[in-house]
Symmetry: C2
Subunit: 115 residues, 2 copies
DNA sequence: GTGATAGTTAACCATGTGGTTAAATATAAT
DNA sequence: ATTATATTTAACCACATGGTTAACTATCAC
């Protein structure tokens, strides 16, 4: 049972599963930011933010460019595009399953209905 | 404290971050399956599969319809559509950042450059 | 009834996660 | 050289995760 986030898609979805990390990505979507700027609005310590940045880096979603004692964080889009593609690839099937959902809801009925 | 009120997205992305769960979803995309049928191709115990199914259920991605001593699992698409929408919403920005990636790669040089 | 079948729950284990504070590192400013 | 600033690393904590085996529940078949 080694690093089960070694698969790129695993790492990408894992990175997206945390609201702090999604917020970081949302802010970086508007342009690169320094670590300190990135951390400022969050109510958590700098090391906590640093850990989130490491998760994002390991998922290939973030590049850090060191410039003096400052680190400029840049969003990298490619892995997220892969994630979107995975979802899109199955969307046709899911949409085919929407009728199955209706059937399921009808067959089980409201929670308190006598069986 | 920032509230991103995005707990469902957390659950959806977390569910997608595991290759076993993605494989389960991929198979369910072709139509409902019983738990046993679902578990058969995986090299892990039934309780392990059962746990994955519970994660998927809690993420709202799976419905289980009990019929006799058998449970029919049906994929529910809606949360996945929300996840895709989250990604799609930021795609325009990421694509704007592709040039920033090029700039980053040029400015930092090859990976093994001496520090 | 007895037994087989489908599946979950319980208890456990090793490791991962998300957070903390304190110390370390590196660079800039004086 | 000293000090302040930006950021990471280390050590720690409580809890979650992904897996196991064993025991339990529920249903079907005889």
């Amino acid at each position: 049972m080694v690093n089960y986030h070694s698969v790129p898609l695993d790492a990408t979805f894992h990175a997206l599963a945390d609201p702090t990390r999604r917020a970081i990505l949302m802010r970086l979507a508007k342009g690169p930011l320094l670590v300190g700027e990135l951390a400022q609005p969050f109510d958590m310590s700098l090391p906590a933010v640093s850990k989130h940045l490491r998760v994002l880096s390991q998922a290939g979603l973030l590049a850090q460019e060191k410039s003096g004692r400052v680190r400029r964080c840049t969003l990298l889009a490619a892995p997220m595009r892969d994630a979107a593609q995975w979802i899109r690839h199955y969307r046709q099937f899911w949409e085919g399953q929407l009728d199955a959902l209706d059937h399921f809801l009808r067959s089980t009925g409201p929670p308190m209905e006598p069986k």
